[in-house]
């Protein structure tokens, strides 16, 4: 933190605020809060990554050698929860905090104190999750989806997880209300809705999704909590409840949740690709409508995660066709990104490399998603490593690659210093190669029938698992290089010009110096 504090101290041209740790605890500045979100996200990314390495170490060879099965289950559960709620989501909220006010010409977020609260709810929630490892019985070992009836039977670690989810949900909802209000009410004069940068549009849609579904998840875990301690039987068949009901409620939240993760990533990529193609985004209006369509469709496809629970044939057919329909707006977006690059004057700096990596890998993940949407195939593939490979292609190569693209893209603006281009490109290639080494082979494992969330496996799966585990260690080490690049940039990077990317044309590049002063756009610019 101190490294970050130092670099921000010299921005501080007319801010009157406490110094040291109190500056960060009491800050209401969107840039400070964005920075805290990003560092929090990175540290959670490291914690969740270590858990992933525990999983991959155990799976390096068949048999049980490093951890016992209980602890393995806790690792898969916490890895999922921490990466989704602790790493990916806060990363994009960090981008939103830094970028939205600067991109729409607003002085700050609509509710700066609320913004401070949204962030400071996160560390206690993360502490609860990690602390649950140390209570009797350990952390919840039920999978990140927290399915009943296991959740009703778990030890006190489950209660900590439930409270962590409540707090994380609260943080997301408050943050979303703030973002929606900022985007709708605080745009600079002349900045109409259809002139907003694509990143702002994607966050507007994401924030609406969050307000709509995070409370549903909170409701689901509240029911679990009352089932555990207050004698209700929402999910207990012995009392007339139904565990499958939990799955329906969870996935009613869970499917929009995957778009909550993906849509801001679309937004970042929609900023980066035009900048390095030196062309405006192709089909801006169709991008807006496609993103909104994806968000709306996400509410009516949830049961494709649970084809095997025993639902009527008509329901399976409906969810299959509705799911396939999502490929249409997603295809529009991919087409538009490719069309933006078409005949553009392309250069391949690190942000663009990550954006193109996103484009290839995310589309591949989308294709395996289409495969899994088909009921008879899904019944074969359900809960195998094929599913694991699929969602890591959209979560890691989709959302995480977009986040890296965003960091490299905006780091010069935020810190006033250029990152080392050569190291950045090495980071990209290492990440890309090791990512595919981990997850591409998992398609084969899944098709051969290796089930997920099991610490042991048949010896015939050994070769691919070894390759996958080696890739995981490589990918982990590559992220230490990322940390080194960022810290080195902050400490001793070359000074960056106001507009280091000549194709970048949103307000933070055209109207603000690099680095931007602590308070920006106190008088709003007028957009023609």
């Amino acid at each position: 933190m101190s490294a970050v504090a130092d670099t921000h101290a010299h921005h501080d041209d007319h801010g009157h605020h406490p110094t040291g740790i109190m500056r960060w605890i009491t800050t209401t500045n969107h840039k400070d809060i964005g920075t805290m979100y990003l560092w929090f996200s990175f540290s959670m990314f490291m914690v969740g990554g270590v858990m992933a390495l525990v999983i991959r170490t155990e799976l390096f060879q068949p048999g049980l050698q490093i951890v016992n099965p209980d602890f393995f289950n806790q690792m898969t559960t916490l890895h999922g929860l921490i990466m989704v709620f602790g790493a990916i989501m806060p990363a994009f909220v960090g981008f939103a905090n830094w970028q939205i006010p600067m991109m729409i010409g607003a002085p700050d977020m609509a509710f700066p104190r609320l913004n401070n609260w949204s962030f400071w709810l996160l560390p206690p929630a993360a502490t609860l999750l990690v602390a649950s490892l140390f209570v009797p019985g350990g952390a919840a070992g039920v999978g990140w989806t927290l399915y009943a009836p296991l959740t009703v039977q778990m030890g006190p670690g489950m209660d900590l997880t439930i409270f962590a989810v409540h707090i994380l949900g609260m943080s997301s909802i408050l943050g979303s209300i703030n973002i929606i209000t900022t985007l709708l009410n605080m745009r600079a004069p002349g900045m109409t809705m259809m002139k907003m940068p694509m990143f702002c549009w994607t966050w507007l849609i994401t924030a609406y999704l969050l307000v709509a579904v995070m409370p549903v998840f909170a409701g689901a875990v509240t029911m679990t909590l009352t089932d555990r301690h207050f004698g209700t039987t929402f999910f207990n068949a012995a009392g007339g409840g139904d565990p499958v009901l939990y799955q329906h409620i969870f996935w009613f939240f869970g499917h929009p949740e995957v778009y909550i993760i993906a849509i801001p990533a679309f937004g970042v990529v929609s900023q980066v690709i035009p900048a390095f193609s030196r062309k405006p985004l192709f089909g801006y209006a169709s991008m807006v409508y496609a993103t909104a369509s994806i968000a709306i469709l996400s509410f009516i496809v949830w049961a494709h995660h649970m084809y095997t629970v025993g639902m009527p044939l008509v329901a399976q057919l409906y969810f299959m066709y509705a799911t396939m329909l999502i490929a249409v707006p997603t295809g529009v977006k991919v087409f538009n990104w490719v069309a933006t690059m078409w005949k553009g004057s392309l250069t391949f700096e690190t942000p663009m490399l990550f954006a193109i990596g996103f484009l290839f890998m995310f589309t591949l993940g989308g294709f395996t998603g289409l495969v899994l949407a088909v009921v008879p195939i899904d019944i074969q593939m359900h809960d195998t490593y094929y599913v694991v490979a699929h969602f890591h292609y959209v979560m890691v190569a989709g959302a995480l690659f977009a986040a890296f693209a965003g960091v490299y893209f905006w780091l010069p603006k935020w810190t006033g210093r250029m990152y080392n281009e050569r190291l950045g490109q090495i980071h990209f290639w290492l990440t890309l190669i090791f990512f595919n080494m981990i997850f591409f082979v998992q398609h084969f494992l899944g098709m051969a029938g290796m089930p997920r969330r099991i610490p042991d496996y048949h010896p015939m799966f050994e070769t691919w698992n070894k390759i996958s585990s080696l890739g995981a260690f490589g990918m982990g080490l590559a992220q230490l290089l990322f940390l080194y690049i960022v810290v080195k940039t902050i400490r001793s990077g070359e000074p960056a010009p106001q507009r280091p990317w000549e194709g970048a044309d949103s307000l933070e590049w055209t109207h603000l110096p690099t680095p931007p002063p602590y308070h920006t756009f106190e008088t709003q610019p007028v957009i023609k």
């Binding site: 209300i177 209000t181 409370p215 509240t222 009901l245």
Partner: protein, 177 residues
């Protein structure tokens, strides 16, 4: 209206939406139960409807005329109804009554005959008093069923089958069965 009020109003509305969606999660519980009931999935009891016989040929109706004789036996033997109408393939049951009017036990065996004669192979008896010897105590009255199906392969020109049972005394058995 200034920006601060505008922002507060919007945030209030969004908070209401969020609280509403929390309630919606709980509203999903009765909704789920209703959907399951409507679709007939997830009910704990087995459904109790009778298995459907898809082989009934409702386009034809066969008249079964029932007749009963006792050959040299002191029994009064008659069907409870003189005719029934059935569809080919349909399971049907008729009842006969015998009264032993002698002061001693008697054993008899019934033998069926059919008109037209070839209809016999299409008249499939599943349960019949004619399968076994019947022994009646002095003055005893007994009702006995015949459960049968008319084979749908019954030739098209047959619309009436006469079924006639004749009881013969089983010689030397007396009251012993």
């Amino acid at each position: 209206m200034n920006l601060g009020n505008e922002n507060r109003r919007l945030s209030r509305r969004l908070t209401i939406v969020a609280i509403g969606m929390f309630g919606f999660a709980f509203a999903l519980v009765p909704f789920y139960n209703q959907i399951c009931a409507a679709l007939g999935v997830n009910s704990i009891e087995e459904k109790s409807e009778a298995p459907l016989n898809s082989q009934i040929d409702t386009s034809r109706t066969i008249t079964i005329e029932l007749d009963a004789n006792a050959h040299n036996l002191p029994w009064r033997f008659k069907p409870m109804v003189s005719e029934v109408k059935v569809h080919p393939g349909e399971l049907a049951m008729v009842e006969y009554e015998i009264v032993n009017v002698r002061e001693a036990p008697v054993t008899g065996q019934a033998v069926p005959s059919y008109g037209p004669q070839n209809a016999g192979e299409y008249f499939k008896k599943i349960e019949c008093f004619c399968f076994t010897h019947q022994t009646l105590a002095p003055g005893e009255t007994r009702r006995m069923p015949v459960v049968f199906v008319v084979d749908p392969k019954l030739p098209k020109d047959v619309s009436t089958i006469a079924v006639s049972y004749t009881f013969f005394e089983v010689a030397g058995r007396g009251g012993k069965s």
